[in-house]
């Protein structure tokens, strides 16, 4: 047994690496959006992009996101307003919502979830006060009564948040986390979602490939649970229907340009594989398109994308020549005209 020797090793390393004094990330004041109510829904929305490689250490989020960020925040507020003004929904109860920024990033989402947990435990009705012994409830003058959490957007981040929330029996509802893994009720007992599992999406992709009699395709997926579980489903089906995979690659959404260049170079090696099936988050698709352009192979590939791409303009803007002929999948959802009315009448200067 060599275990004892190892332990001696860690003990010393730990002592050298004692925590820094002063500020921790948890002290960072991130902006939140709050609509007060008798009961509150906590919502995690990626209002900013995930931290860039060089800003991860300071947990500084990236650029602001309109479609995945601001629009979802405004849509959430509109939905809550509609519920509150409808006498048939929750009569005599005012629903509120507190929206926090998850920045599409696990540790930031966990940080914000801890805030929700504190609020859930300090439920002024006293119903869940028994759990207060584990994590500190807020002082009594706090009046937030969080009853559940909605979001976040990313499957990988949702899984991590769910692992934390289930310890406190706080229900969580996903609005865009489609990973097949999240269907496993034994692992993710307090999670429900309003979007279908990626298992069905993989089937649609296979159907497209078979429809066009493509028998030799390459694949790329975003590193993380969404891409991995989706691509696993695709490959299981591909085997069943005797489709051959030429090259397969995986890449982090926020990887640097040269990493994407390498992906394109590897795809080019399979000379007769022109179709690239991409089970990717939107920003992975965008970076892949950019790399295609950078490497002057604009019309070489035909991309098939999942709902991470869907019909998002922020994915394809300025890269229209690259994705011509591409096919992407979008989850059916009705067009909400009242949202357009609200959204296009908002002013960024006074938010009214």
């Amino acid at each position: 047994m060599s275990l004892s020797g190892w332990w001696l090793g860690f003990a010393l390393v730990v002592l050298i690496a004692t925590p820094e004094q002063g500020e921790t990330f948890m002290q960072k004041n991130r902006k939140t959006a709050l609509l007060q109510g008798d009961i509150l829904i906590g919502a995690l929305v990626s209002v900013h992009h995930q931290p860039k490689k060089q800003s991860i250490k300071t947990h500084t989020c990236g650029e602001i996101r309109e479609q995945y960020g601001i629009q979802r925040v405004e849509a959430a507020f509109q939905a809550v307003d509609e519920i509150n003004s409808n006498p048939d929904l929750l009569p005599n109860i005012t629903l509120g919502i507190e929206i926090r920024d998850s920045c599409w990033y696990s540790s930031i989402a966990l940080e914000q979830s801890l805030e929700f947990i504190r609020d859930a435990l300090s439920d002024p009705s006293g119903l869940s006060s028994g759990a207060g012994s584990s994590l500190c409830p807020r002082p009594n003058n706090r009046t937030k009564n969080i009853v559940g959490v909605v979001g976040p957007g990313s499957s990988a981040v949702t899984i991590q948040v769910q692992n934390l929330l289930q310890l406190f029996n706080i229900p969580q509802v996903g609005y865009s986390a489609t990973s097949r893994d999240l269907s496993d009720k034994s692992r993710f007992s307090d999670f429900l979602r309003v979007v279908p599992s990626d298992y069905y999406q993989a089937q649609v992709m296979i159907d497209i490939v078979r429809h066009y009699n493509w028998t030799y395709v390459s694949t790329v997926h975003t590193d993380g649970n969404y891409g991995q579980s989706g691509m696993t489903a695709f490959k299981e089906l591909a085997e069943q229907f005797n489709l051959c995979i030429a090259k397969e690659d995986t890449v982090l959404s926020n990887a640097e340009d040269f990493v994407y260049d390498e992906v394109i170079k590897r795809l080019l090696e399979a000379e007769r594989a022109n179709v690239v099936v991409c089970f990717c988050e939107g920003m992975t698709v965008r970076n892949l398109f950019k790399a295609t352009k950078r490497n002057n192979v604009t019309s070489r590939f035909l991309f098939i994308g999942s709902d991470g791409w869907a019909d998002r303009t922020d994915v394809v803007k300025g890269l229209e020549d690259v994705f011509i002929g591409g096919i992407s999948i979008k989850i059916t959802s009705p067009y909400v005209h009242t949202f357009d009315e609200l959204y296009f009448n908002l002013s960024p200067f006074n938010n009214t």
Copy 2:
């Protein structure tokens, strides 16, 4: 835009799924082992197996583990004792350790990490009291001064714990988490480890395969970060050296028997692929061996295993006929004879 419609959907689902009253998992009293000291190391050890499928909902851990559990606990205590009795190491400071059971399972490890965080924030020296505003420090009569966390064993669980600990700048040291992903300092800023990255292990596996001129092998990996990142590294190298992958499969460590039977059946489909490269946790290997035996194909495959298997007797006990001819990789570590002396003289009845 259909976003508003979706949000209405979640809002209602959340309201139906309000939290259960009464006990949450965080109230569960899990046993801990504590050796008091001026400063404490928190340690996460998998003293029990992960919850079985049917016990996940109640977060009830599986069977007790001797090699990965009890032995590591005893080795940790011995290491701390050695440091304290050595006048050259940490003079005038008594090192202590608090060991918590992570059960090789993410949400249980997160639950136990929250306890460490509370102790770290209530540092009686007052050094890190600034962070106390975020998560509640324990009452003043608590005297635990956790300065860092060692463990847990699993890479996937380590990543989730690290995402939480880095919010509080609590350093973490891995003793067996070998995933290549954990080398990314920008994502896992407060993590160090005393074991090498799986990138090197994948190279060793490739070297073995090439040494024997095997050009057509199947692969299996444990679903989760350890298996995924290890297998990704293996496949990258396999492509480089023109090795062909016959079948590839992925399976959860605690999956049920019929799932493992299906894996074996798929491996059998590749009639000329006899070598199975398994980037797997120990229990995945054991379940695979059991399924091989159950399906009466004992001498059909030759398994190549990673350090999850290594030379562990708890993996192969009773299945010696299945693994004959197999090759597994073990990380170099010196034999600690003093540990044997201590361990074999312990009595399970009075723990002395």
